[in-house]
């Protein structure tokens, strides 16, 4: 990519639209890795990031899985938190008041075990002041379909999308699971069902064995793999989905440096989410953002959207 050096571009424009949602910049905090925001107080200025996506919320509080819930793997992290969360009521009552005063876009990640649950929780958020969008985690088991994840079944993914769109007037981002043969098939279905945007990837299903104890290292046996290790897979899927659908795509997976983020933006993602990297270093999002700005200035790129490579 050759870009003309242009002195005008000393202050690059980083704001973007994700469908109806306007973000001041494309660097978001991924669900499950930034708590409910307060936990980062003093370590990362939340008002600098483009948005914060809180821990996945369900209808009822969930205790999560028994420990051990974490294992480190080469350049990666396996987790089986089990979607522990305070539930929608406590979220609205106890967490939202603090969050709504933070000057950034608040996106609530939701989860359920049936289409009805997704729909119900989306309804509850519809009126909630301060919530700018909903991100729908469809990696959860569909209890009615024998526990197969919604996200691995294009039809089920479509149903959830339909139901959530009907239940709320907020912008709806559907978050895809990478554990599928053809990510574009699910993406197309979800787009056709009215999603405002797609984010991907959630974690890859993995496991580890503790050879000292001779037992799976996670109490839950399987867990979700995240971190730098998965970046090549995430980037490939983002590239594919960008070329398969017309709605905006948000890239996630192993981003920990500005260069990582730029790869996703070049692949065509409108924004990126930082997950595991925030766990390792709380101010990663700030550094990624600064690095993107530097890159744009150095290469005289005025608008963040101009980073995208031709298809």
């Amino acid at each position: 990519m050759i870009h003309q050096k242009n002195p005008i571009s000393r202050f690059p424009n980083l704001s973007i639209n994700i469908g109806p949602l306007r973000l001041k910049n494309p660097v978001l905090l991924a669900s499950g890795t930034c708590g409910y925001g307060t936990e980062l107080d003093g370590l990362l200025d939340l008002e600098q990031v483009g948005g914060i996506i809180v821990k996945g919320i369900s209808i009822k509080p969930r205790p999560g899985n028994p420990p051990p819930r974490l294992v480190e793997t080469p350049c990666g992290l396996l987790n089986s938190i089990g979607l522990e969360n305070v539930g929608i009521e406590s979220f609205i009552r106890d967490k939202l008041p603090w969050l709504r005063n933070v000057k950034t876009s608040l996106i609530v990640n939701i989860l359920g075990n049936s289409v009805e649950e997704y729909s119900e929780i989306a309804k509850k958020l519809d009126g909630a002041e301060g919530v700018k969008a909903i991100e729908v985690n469809i990696s959860c088991p569909n209890v009615k379909a024998g526990g197969i994840a919604f996200g691995t079944d294009p039809e089920a993914a479509a149903s959830v999308t339909h139901a959530v769109k009907k239940a709320t007037s907020l912008p709806v981002i559907i978050k895809l699971t990478p554990n599928v043969t053809d990510i574009t098939e699910v993406a197309r279905k979800v787009a056709a069902s009215g999603a405002d945007a797609i984010s991907l990837i959630n974690t890859l299903l993995g496991m580890a064995i503790d050879i000292k104890s001779g037992r799976p290292a996670l109490a839950n046996v399987f867990g979700g793999l995240s971190g730098p290790a998965i970046k090549p897979i995430a980037l490939r899927m983002v590239w594919q989905v960008v070329r398969a659908v017309d709605i905006p795509v948000i890239g996630i997976g192993g981003i920990s440096t500005p260069d990582d983020a730029i790869e996703f933006l070049m692949a065509g993602a409108k924004a990126v989410e930082i997950g595991t990297a925030t766990l390792v270093r709380p101010d990663t999002a700030k550094n990624v953002l600064a690095g993107i700005k530097d890159y744009m200035e150095t290469n005289s790129i005025q608008n963040i959207e101009n980073l995208q490579l031709p298809a």
Binding site: G32, T33, C34, G35, E39, L40, G42, L43, K55, P63, G64, N65, P66, P67, P68, R69, L70, V71, E72, P74, C75, G76, L77, N79, I81, E84, G227, P228, S256, T276, T278, L279, V280, R281, P282, D283
Partner: protein
């Protein structure tokens, strides 16, 4: 509770015994707000390598007025091994101080029960208690070389006892033997503080809960963030209602909050 994530200069790295190290860094900001029982998350990956990915939690062992913090740690795996290769003059990222430390109790004798490197979280506490009340320190280990810094404690109180399983230091036996002896001598109320291997802390708790002696324990769990973001550091609650989160609500808990039957 201010926390800082700083590139700290390594002042000293000393091998105290086989596989046991004392790392001293310059981190005045962290030191200023550190309380006994708190910990830090240390980056162990080298330079711009991305592996091992996660930081490692280590208790704040010792602090000095000049802004230095020391960590007492054991090489058990890749992370602590890499940490032990770092040299004075190099930089290590340190995030801290983290977690809820020990709550100080002033109106009764305080008994500190440390097992092996569990003593790493007890020195600041011992120093603090020493300033105001009666302090009893009981330390146990497999052998003397597992607790090379025992002298940091021995000067703090005359009620100081060590037990080693091989008898290489102090009484031959377990730290729980020392505790049993101590409890016999104590008639009124007392406060227990303990840190060490899970089975030891469990035994300590069972010994003292019968006598309604309150007990604060410092727990460990696998951690990714150390600051409450990931919910990974769960330990089951005694009431069966979900989990404690070691990094945020702990690492110090009242022992009766913990489900001791769960083996991690």
């Amino acid at each position: 509770m201010p926390r800082f994530d700083i590139p700290a200069n390594i002042v000293e790295q000393t091998q105290l015994a086989h596989g046991i190290f004392l790392l001293t860094v310059n981190a005045p900001a962290i030191l200023d707000s550190a309380n006994p029982g708190q910990f830090c998350m240390l980056e162990v990956k080298y330079n711009n390598s991305r592996d091992p990915l996660l930081r490692r939690p280590l208790s704040i062992y010792k602090t000095r007025a000049n802004g230095q913090i020391s960590f007492l740690y054991k090489e058990v795996g890749r992370g602590t091994r890499l940490l032990s290769k770092r040299r004075p003059g190099e930089i290590v990222r340190v995030l801290g101080p983290l977690g809820q430390g020990f709550r100080l109790i002033h109106d009764r004798p305080c008994i500190l029960v440390g097992g092996g490197l569990g003593i790493a979280s007890l020195l600041l506490l011992a120093e603090r208690i020493n300033q105001s009340g009666k302090l009893i320190i009981l330390i146990g280990a497999g052998n003397a070389s597992e607790i090379p810094t025992v002298e940091d404690f021995s000067g703090l109180t005359r009620y100081f006892h060590v037990a080693t399983e091989d008898g290489s230091l102090g009484q031959r036996g377990m730290v729980t033997d020392l505790l049993a002896q101590t409890l016999q001598e104590i008639t009124g109320m007392a406060q227990i503080y303990t840190c060490g291997p899970w089975p030891m802390m469990k035994a300590v708790y069972h010994m003292v809960c019968k006598r309604n002696i309150p007990c604060q324990v410092s727990l460990e769990a696998a951690m990714a963030c150390g600051i409450g973001l990931c919910l990974g550091c769960a330990v089951p609650k005694s009431d069966g209602q979900g989990f404690l989160h070691v990094c945020k609500e702990g690492p110090v808990f009242d022992a009766d909050q913990v489900n001791w039957e769960y083996s991690l």
